[in-house]
Symmetry: C2
Subunit: 457 residues, 2 copies
């Protein structure tokens, strides 16, 4: 039987999951097609990626919000999704009609129907609109890691890349027209930093400009495209132009990543949007509102004396894009050689035999490495930051256990025998940890478990 392209891909993905040690059963896939399940190793990588982004958010001024999964159809009508995106959406209703919000109305009435969110933007627009905003408050940047659902046709589903449920490292920037260039520049900087941390790349940047049918004024477009071009020029990366390829509501920049096979993947996006702020009647107060709206400044005291409402510019942006898809790229990219901080298998402790003192010392070493040996006041645990330290105390030969650990991609291989028990040490092979900077690959190290915690930092 020949495998179709999509079967092949599915098989490749299954292999990738196996590499993670996360075997997925078919039953799982049948119960929720297109919703990948992340088992412990996958969830660890996912959480590390989110944690990394949260750390950077402190620097880039994003504030995380936690927002609903379902919104009334009326919201999706307002945002334009019902008109333009309904095919890709799921509808949510009360399973029992008696629990409908408006039981007198038909179950299919917009008052009783919800849309399962495919995007976070309408929710973030509501948050922006919920308070009075001044030009001094801007830019306001919201981040959101909510699960999103898009109803891909079932034949197209594949592993972690073509899915129905996924998470974006989603962000929306509400800024003044004069701030567009600076915000784009910072976003491109964020992307550069993140991709260099993952050692992903090279990537190219593609600017898509005004298409034939568009909303907004020609001035809006000229100003926005000018800002994007200046930010692109300033970032020092090569970029290409997709003339006329922008969305009808604004120009955008795509990040096109080349994988090790030379295949291109679209990951990050930076999308300007003139439409949603209008649909949601978003506004902030500023002096000289007409000048402000054009992104210009004035020193004219008469103009500045009068404040009024201005529509903010909305920038949608994702640095990783779909977190699940980026994970698939990383799994292929690292091919088992994870950087230590992302490795779901940071270390394994192997016993040279299964005698009680050796096994007990191995278990104690595990507790020390995980930071749970000494509970703090009241029994609270403040882990060491090391995740995923396993123990193999089976009676099999050490040689076999080492080979298996290496195949599985463990970073540190820590061996414990009677001599270690007597000396209070462990023997460490750190050659599985990809080198960062000038740390040499090390093997045959002897140290106490406590020293190893420090060494691993």
């Amino acid at each position: 039987m020949r495998l179709s392209k999509s079967d092949k891909h599915q098989k490749a993905q299954t292999m990738l999951f196996r590499k993670l040690g996360d075997a997925l059963g078919n039953q799982l896939e049948k119960s929720s097609p297109g919703s990948p399940i992340l088992l412990p190793n996958g969830a660890r990588i996912f959480n590390r990626l989110v944690e990394f982004l949260r750390n950077q958010y402190v620097h880039y001024g994003f504030q995380e919000v936690i927002t609903p999964t379902i919104y009334k159809k009326a919201l999706w009508a307002k945002s334009g999704h019902l008109e333009n995106y309904a095919d890709d959406m799921f509808t949510v209703t009360s399973t029992s009609p008696s629990r409908s919000d408006e039981p007198a109305l038909d179950a299919n009435s917009a008052a009783n129907e919800y849309g399962l969110k495919p995007m976070n933007c309408p929710g973030h627009c509501l948050i922006f609109a919920a308070q009075k905003r001044s030009y001094r408050d801007l830019p306001i940047r919201y981040a959101d890691f909510s699960p999103l659902h898009r109803n891909e046709v079932s034949g197209a589903l594949s592993g972690l890349t073509r899915v129905r449920r996924f998470h974006q490292d989603d962000g929306h920037i509400f800024c003044r027209p004069s701030q567009i260039e600076d915000e784009i520049r910072k976003t491109l900087d964020f992307i550069r930093v993140a991709y260099s941390v993952f050692r992903l790349g090279p990537y190219r940047l593609a600017l898509s400009t005004r298409p034939e049918s568009y909303i907004g004024s020609l001035d809006d477009w000229a100003q926005a495209e000018g800002s994007l071009k200046r930010a692109l020029d300033a970032c020092g990366q090569t970029w290409t132009l997709n003339e006329g390829d922008g969305a009808f509501y604004g120009p955008k920049i795509d990040v096109i990543l080349k994988d090790s096979d030379g295949k291109e993947h679209q990951t990050a996006t930076v999308q300007l949007d003139f439409q949603l702020p209008k649909r949601f009647e978003l506004e902030y107060q500023a002096p000289a509102p007409e000048v402000e709206q054009r992104g210009e400044t004035t020193t004219d005291a008469a103009l500045l004396a009068v404040s009024g409402p201005v529509a903010p510019v909305l920038i949608h942006r994702a640095v990783l894009g779909s977190v699940e898809r980026l994970m698939a790229l990383l799994i292929e990219h690292y091919n088992g050689k994870w950087p230590f901080w992302l490795n779901p298998r940071q270390g394994i402790i192997l016993t040279v035999n299964d005698s009680e003192p050796v096994v007990e010392w191995a278990r104690r070493t595990q507790r020390v490495l995980l930071g749970v040996e000494e509970a703090l006041e009241g029994g609270v645990v403040a882990p060491s930051g090391l995740g995923a330290i396993d123990v193999d105390d089976s009676a099999r030969s050490l040689q076999l256990k080492v080979r298996e650990a290496k195949t599985k991609g463990y970073g540190m291989i820590i061996v414990v025998g009677p001599k270690n028990v007597a000396e209070g040490t462990v023997s460490v092979d750190a050659t599985g940890v990809p080198q960062v900077g000038d740390k040499p690959a090390e093997k045959g190290l002897e140290m106490t478990p406590e020293e190893l915690v420090v060494f691993m930092k």
Copy 2:
């Protein structure tokens, strides 16, 4: 106009949100009734709570998984939810019938309908069932922070406590019958540690036993109830008996927390379950399977020579319960005096005037405290662990700014003036930080921003 009880509660919740600095607009509530939105301060507390639990999971042996939001109706039929829980559920369908998985079938056919998950258990049962399990693998403990949806009637919705969308610190333990007591004991220990960290309590434990209609054998029940009682006795807390009040599928322990007004809230639950493992035909392999199933041990070599399938016991457990509801309790409990690690407003830097050197020094101090002043290699940021350090560099009087900062509940109030600029220091009032252990409340401290980072740890 007299306020109804629920209006009063709603108003109280709104006040609580205001205290957080998270003003919620009405429009938000109308677009997704019962789905609380967490704005930046609320999201910070939420994330800190999740982070705290994740840290403890390393110790208690829970492995986090990330699971789908929607599952086919067939799964909810198998789990019994369609039969027993349909009123509280939401149904999910393709918005466009052309995108149904089985377009030839009716849109209401189970093949095309999903349930929006109200609980994680069926998904975790699928994960358990996806691999062959041995008695040596048990206990297996899965944790999950997925959003859950339960279709409460709209009139009952209120703030963070009666909601339709919430997150549980959900966990499912699959264990051998002989491990029940030990697992319950560890869970009660976890609850004790967590509640003492939050300084919540006292709480009482209530054991609910076999009701009139039940599934499973009398032996199963006697054994399970005996394990729960022994674990309760061993934990040293007072506990009460709700005879006959258990679910039909197993006995449970509830944690009943008394708030400062003496009102009782049910928070954590530990629920034994004989039903789901049967419905999902879960099994693990063990020697002497009949003895094993009874939770007993044998030394009979003939019995031990034969291995066979045994049904695991499932324990549902949540330490906080609903994270949102626990947040509401904590907001009332701390009444603005957050422990430092949970405070969404850990510190604010106030300028004595708005001159450029003073404002610049305040901004630099903020960057140092947040850990973003010095980007690491490649521009990556490794924050200090301090969140939410704000700056007030408005031209208003210092006295006014201090009063406002205290009202808002900031932990550290950090003042910066020309003298500080000259000396490279900041002036710190740490009396807003509730004292832990023997650290005295401190005021009038002078130190460099870098020293303050260390001091705040």
